[in-house]
């Protein structure tokens, strides 16, 4: 599934024009990106949480050469799926 298919779904289900649907989908993801860039977490009930975590600097190693390199302190994004999403993925009796 791509953004284009999400836009198609909105067009089908909600009846907005494709142009409007595309504009809103774009805006939703842009808003999420700006929020995460500020270091804030996003909680989407029924789907999951997007959390920005601070990582400390550490010494890493180039696995090919064995050379040590310093890995800078940085922020990373993690996604924690909600229980609802986890169950939805296993609903067909394979859980």
């Amino acid at each position: 599934m791509t953004k284009a298919e999400i836009i198609e779904k909105i067009y089908e289900k909600v009846g907005f024009s494709k142009k409007e649907s595309a504009e809103i989908v774009e805006l939703v993801f842009d808003t999420m990106k700006t929020t995460l860039e500020r270091g804030e977490k996003i909680k989407i009930s029924g789907f999951g949480n997007f959390v920005v975590r601070q990582k400390r600097p550490r010494i890493g190693r180039n696995p090919q050469t064995g050379e040590e390199i310093e890995i800078c302190a940085r922020r990373v994004l993690t996604f924690r799926p909600s229980q609802v999403l986890k169950i939805a993925l296993n609903h067909d009796g394979n859980a």
């Binding site: 599934m1 791509t2 953004k3 298919e5 999400i6 779904k9 909105i10 289900k13 909600v14 907005f16 409007e20 649907s21 504009e23 809103i24 989908v25 805006l27 939703v28 993801f29 808003t31 999420m32 990106k33 929020t35 995460l36 860039e37 270091g39 804030e40 977490k41 996003i42 909680k43 989407i44 009930s45 029924g46 789907f47 999951g48 920005v52 800078c72 302190a73 940085r74 922020r75 990373v76 994004l77 993690t78 996604f79 799926p81 609802v84 999403l85 986890k86 939805a88 993925l89 296993n90 609903h91 394979n94 859980a95």
Partner: protein, 105 residues
Amino acid sequence: MRQGKEGGVNKSDLITAVAGQMPNLAMKDVEIIVNTIFHSMTDALSTGDRIEIRGFGSFEVRVRQPRSGRNPKTGENVSVGLRRVPFFKVGKELRERIRDDERGA
């Protein structure tokens, strides 16, 4: 954007923020659209489909093989069946924007 008590943004904050930038749309309509986005993503993942949102990231389903585990409290053996778990990989653009490291990225 308005923030919850413990910081962070929830779905209704996201809806309010998007609606604020689309003055010609009713809040209710934005709500329906945001819900449709996450519902269609859940549907896609539950059929095993991969999702790619360029600039944001991708979601895929990973399969955990059945294994025999142990109840840590009782020591009893339990079998854990095959499970599917969602996996998110952040996209390049968003990763760079969040990174905020010493290089000033």
